[in-house]
Symmetry: D2
Subunit: 498 residues, 4 copies
């Protein structure tokens, strides 16, 4: 057997040290080490079933693979930069153990080009399921805390300014709805990821009599990515993964922004648990919401990873190119980032102290009730909405000039305004003003579907909780399917090894 | 009534000229002009049905809206920067026509915050359907040309180097498969876009007795985006739209890269039709594939637009903020870009001249058949694949040193190599070598599912053509649903106007 | 003469309508219309001086160019998509006016490839000077308002939490320093942009006996971009322009974030002038800081534009490619965006109402003085800083548990803490505590260079104001150089036309 | 002394394990471990000189720091996630060694906020110098190989199509010029990075009597970043670093694109050395230019990193926020990526085999000489350039229809074309055609400044070589200044320790 790297027979010189370090992907490959073993196991069982690998050699191969798996799990394996990738490493180890006559059969009818994309997809589908679960966990916590605070009145904001009277439950419930859409994106992405590229060869298939349906079954794929050029060359599913992660992180960054604003002394609506804050090396009074700031900063990571993958793909010709090797590195990074950020956010929201009295503090007499006043006038005082709006604006200005709030208005203030603005004589009584400017009553009247009215929030929480439960049940089923296929694969291997 | 802008009653000063130009969105709003009229029509019909707008006023409103639509269509309308947006413009025009008593009713129970997102979604769903159709048109052209060239043999590449023998049909068919996945993404995106946010008020709903289910029906939405905070504040569907466009453009950029390489004098595989090329201002011989280069350059536009939207969303607090106004501008730009690029690519591929003789030119004797030789040896000469591979590599080097090609090898060359590398005595005959190095025979033996073997390509084209047809049928149904809802809306409006 | 487009002699078919619209750059070229005329004027004067264009034909050409310029300025010109670009349009118009014998000379020894990059650089250098001026204007306003508020005490924040006692002057002055660095970046960029590519031909120069030094002088370039391949093919200066714009916008986005937070009811530190806010279509009380939100949103535009340009450049081969045509469109957009955002920010800061009493409101007794207490103990009580810090933290907790503030501490509290934490007997007197917890005194003691102490802020403002003045003087000189060169060009053209 | 983390005195609970891992920056801090020791050494020497740390305690501190440095260098140190960062780790170790009375002094008058940015800048300035050197090394190799190939004629391309006749020397020389601009950007960036933020405290300075000028001198900074808010809060220099890296990588990606195209079998202009290529796991004939493909793929990394940093900065309020912690991680990644890519490109170009005969293969009779013909006609045949151009285009079409090349044209062909297109009777002789279509003669006539004519290329290489030498001399001087300052720092520490 020739010395040196397994695949460089055609090339006279080995990589020098620097190029080897530049070129190798062994570090990012560690994440697919066992996936590669599973992939080879399935492939070689299929080759045996097709009559290409004899049983004797198959037994040797399976034993060698399981030995490598054992060493890997026990931490005995480190892979140097002299290996281009994990695929070369594992094949080399097998050949070292059982010789080239048997070991040289493991790669029959396969190329690294279809092998690597199979490995990545095997890993990625697990990652997507994990992120899905983390997303549903965050949904659960949001719905739980929304339920606890369905009745807690607060200002809801637009443009960072006081908008209307609302409830904290409605706020938290909105977040849950957004994340349910993210989870839906993950589910649809999963379906595009979990298709089998194995058997596509380097780019144009193989003349070995393989059976792609069988490896599809053994590896728990839901279908086959048929066209061999497409299967080895495309990375649209990787870009989509990064895009979904970026959308999730964009959503989390807005939750983070709210939490950070609410944590300021000036707002004071919430207090993060100690384990999600840090102090200062010099300012002893500090309790900094630094974990959530860090999470907000990590939004950049996901946007960057997306651009990395899109740039990598841009304008490269069809067929596997080495540019795509970087896909792994970037995917793993953004996936881990998204996963941990979801978990951190779940923990922070589950444990944060909410201060209902602070939330309510600014509610009484708040000018946010001007819209209630306008709508009430439009409902009850024979004015069009735009007239009512103009009158309410006039009354806000009047109250500000008086240094009072809207609940101090008198019927004659309203009537005067109507006359002066529209030459209209209208009649309002004090109870209209009182009703329109009472926060609780006004919130009660907010009957539109989806409003922050406590009853409506509770209805939504109940119904959307059912949606969340369904999405979780479906996730569990998918996970079971995968685990069951892999279990069968290992049982088959064990049976054949005997 | 105070002069000046409709909504600035509370503010003493108007925008100065520069700020008005900075702030206004009227230019990007032109694209939603009619959507805004439809949205208001549906909302006001619902308000009438709920007993909030009397029939008489409704008639005046509907007439005014239709008059504005008529003027718009006939090009009579230009909107200056003194209007913040199209919503303010249209309400102002209605009030100007029919007075504030009737006209002032059109905005009852609604805010610009839910209105604008409704308008955008009404427009965006059409855009998505158009891009879907353009994608399916490109799929059709690819499948058509792939069918024409299913038998045309060419080199297929990896790393830009000769990889295996394949067919042009397989290449073109791979592109079609990729784009079918893109079309699937568009379909799933559509479902998330086509939900109704109208009735969410500024952020916290309304106390006007509206009926959100009715506007959902009137506007042809498939469901309701319930939570009022979510509905007015979220733009995840916009980010997803830009992400799908970026993925499509990334895919097109690779097709473009192939076309551009194939158009070089050195490759010479294809020639773009004159209408997709340009010449030089100074080099009279030039026929530049500039349209496809331009398309490749426009990939940048879609990546940029995605980053624009993601950045916009990053770290802004919940509730409508003006940052989000920019969503429109960016969305329209990337949608138009994607649409035209799909159409240009469709035209270029439909009309490009393919040169089978050039494609075949390098095939005979090509070293790309080394993999065939290795697989044949592994199949027939009692060698493991890795041994065969090493021998084939040895024979490639031998042929290069002799200045010949693989089809010139003799049985003894193979036997000598096996002995020298592995001390093995094997027996091969000339027919094995001939078979392994004949391009057509070798392609015939490539029996793996999804390979570029002509019969396999034809099978895939047939089956994936059925998929394409199904996706188109579903697209047509969706489009009909939307059109039918809007038709009913207009008929209802016409009936009520009488 | 053949009909149809000027440069398509080699091609049988014209663009169809859709491709023409896709391909044309006439819209983005409008911005370089006069630059193109200047470029041609300089080029043709040089050709005359080199004996290539006879005087008679030069006079005809110059007259035709000035006639086109006149029509352009009076708004008589619209360019249809049948022209690929403004260069083809102008040459066609000249030939139409004076015939191909004279008019056909204007493009001698030149290609669109060097021409377009010359035009863009002529325009871009003006744009950079304009953005520089806008940046310096913002610096001036910041320094002016910082000077007004050098003594106004406020909390300065880290992690959005109360950090130390500072001054508003220090805050505003920090912004000015950042923008001075941005202006420096613009100056260095300018030097790389203002070099002459004209005379590089399509990619490999020309055999016409041109004089590149002369056009460099006539057009006011500072030097020559020599290598013809580099000059026609590189766009690094465009990417750098977008990068500097993105950095500026990133900086502005942080100023915007401060302004928006300070504008909340909860902070209430400032109030934007009415002309930089807007109201609501439904909530009559609203005064939204929407102009600054919009500016923050437009940060996305600049990040997106940068990615657009970087993507465009990625992996395209050397030599002009049509991909680069998009450079213009993106550059103009990001330049205009940056320019207007700088101007809007300047106006908003110049006119915003600052409320010193609100800024001071939280200062007395603020725990932000804990660091002062720690430093004072470390200075005066024979404790290491870390010991003092731990004691100060202990005293903060003590005060919180008592519901009091730090200025209410007694000497024995400090002494007890030292004993309990470090078994140390220390002696402090009340005046130490009083001194450490008096905001004004404590700020006075903050003597480190660059601190927010009013005297230090004033020193910095004075010195950095000198820097700003120098940068402006240099900007004015650069602008004068350019204007003077162009003036000479036009005078030369006028003289020769007679 | 309380147990647990150094800075969490105010907080009751420690991080849980997951949050600790999320929050810690110890991994990315390893790169600034020694910079942190240097920073503390300089700071504490200054505190001693200012009378704040007594000599005895200073000796203990310096000894402890050097002991930690020694352990670090010998690989004895690993830092767990229980430390937030390296700063906490080192202070904790010092206190563990020498007690809190002495050890507790090391952080006097300093905060992590100014400390970390000082450390990063100390490291970053070295990184920038290294990248500068790598850039100049690549320039040298390009100029060397350009000199070797100054006379080698090849086609130069536009739009990927044959443009003009040129030389390989001109191509390689163009790359060198581009990289010299990149090196200039690095130099200007360095000046903005090498300013001292130390002494700015957490955000508002300190009341300890520090001397910022002295630490500036001791650490070899060129100046002070004065304003304490700016110094602790700004990261514009980090964004600029990433931007310059992205521009460099964009430039390298185009060189890569050329190399990859030239490495195809179809072009065959060059062959990468074995150590920059790899083979296939299945196709034994393959010699893939995978190292350069990988480099092109890594362009994505730099674009992504830039977006990461820009996103991180977007819209966060002023004053240190934890978001900015991520700056380090991203900076280190993009710096290492850029550095190694420059080195790989240098090695690949230095060792690649250039094949002059392949470069020349397509030159004789190439239609790229049409522009020469047009220019010659315009020079010598009394035709305007546009007329000559149209005639040359006509002759190209004529030659194609005849299946011949331009050098086969006869005088009457030219004359007939002039008559048929312009009804002009012109007279040309064979020598005009021969001259215009002889590649070498035609290249000789390309006399414009910056053209690929061999003599002109040699002139440029000589002059730009001088520029490169000057830039290298300046780089060496800067590096010496830094090293000399650090040497003095260590000598001062050693002297004081005795």
């Amino acid at each position: 057997m020739t010395q040196g790297s397994l695949f460089r027979s055609r090339l006279a010189k080995e990589f020098d040290n620097k190029t080897a370090r530049f070129h190798t992907s062994v570090n990012e490959d560690l994440r697919i080490f066992e996936d590669d073993i599973n992939c080879t196991t399935a492939h070689d069982i299929m080759l045996y079933e097709q009559g290409i690998i004899p049983l004797k050699e198959l037994k040797m191969i399976l034993a060698a693979l399981e030995e490598i798996r054992r060493k890997w799990r026990s931490g005995e394996i480190t892979i140097g930069a002299e290996y281009e990738d994990v695929h070369e490493y594992i094949e080399t180890m097998v050949i070292k153990q059982i010789g080239i006559e048997a070991g040289g059969m493991i790669h029959t009818g396969r190329s690294r080009n279809d092998q690597v994309v199979t490995d990545i997809k095997l890993r990625l589908r697990e990652d997507i399921l994990n992120i899905s679960e983390a997303t549903l966990n965050l949904v659960d916590v949001l719905q739980k805390r929304a339920t606890e605070h369905a009745d807690n009145i607060m200002i809801v904001y637009t443009h960072g300014q006081h908008g209307q009277i609302g409830t904290l439950g409605a706020y938290l419930s909105a977040y849950a709805d957004i994340l349910l859409r993210d989870q839906q994106r993950l589910t649809e992405l999963y379906a595009r990821v979990n298709t089998n590229p194995l058997g596509s060869g380097p780019v144009g298939g193989t003349s070995i009599n393989i059976n792609r349906k069988r490896t599809t079954e053994l590896l728990g794929f839901d279908g086959i990515q048929e066209n061999s050029i497409d299967a080895t060359s495309s990375r649209d599913w990787a870009m989509e993964t990064a895009a979904v992660c970026a959308i999730i992180m964009g959503d989390l960054s807005r939750i983070a922004a709210d939490i950070l604003e609410w944590s300021t002394v000036e707002f004071g609506y919430i207090e993060l648990a100690d384990e999600y804050t840090s102090s200062s090396s010099i300012m002893p009074q500090k309790k900094n919401p630094s974990t959530i700031e860090l999470l907000r900063g990590k939004t950049g990571e996901s946007y960057g990873a997306l651009i990395e993958l899109l740039t990598m793909e841009k304008g490269v010709t069809t067929g596997y190119v080495q540019d795509l090797q970087e896909t792994k590195l970037t995917l793993w990074r953004t996936i881990e980032n998204t996963q941990i950020c979801l978990e951190i956010m779940t923990g922070a929201i589950a444990t944060m102290k909410i201060k209902p009295e602070k939330l309510y503090r600014q509610v009484p007499g708040n000018f946010a009730m001007a819209v209630e006043l306008a709508e009430t006038l439009s409902n009850e005082a024979d004015l069009s909405f735009r007239e009512s709006y103009k009158i309410a604006a006039d009354l806000v200005n009047l109250s500000i000039s008086r240094g009072t709030t809207l609940d101090k208005l008198k019927p004659e203030d309203v009537e005067t305004s109507a006359t002066s603005l529209y030459k209209k004589k209208i009649k309002v009584n004090q109870s209209l003003i009182d009703k329109a400017t009472d926060p609780k009553l006004s919130l009660q009247r907010r009957r539109s579907l989806g409003s922050p009215r406590p009853e409506e929030v509770k209805r939504m929480l109940k119904e959307h909780g059912v949606t969340a439960k369904k999405q979780r049940a479906s996730l569990i089923k998918t996970r079971n399917d995968v685990e069951s296929a892999l279990k069968t694969l290992h049982e088959t291997a064990t049976r054949l090894s005997k």
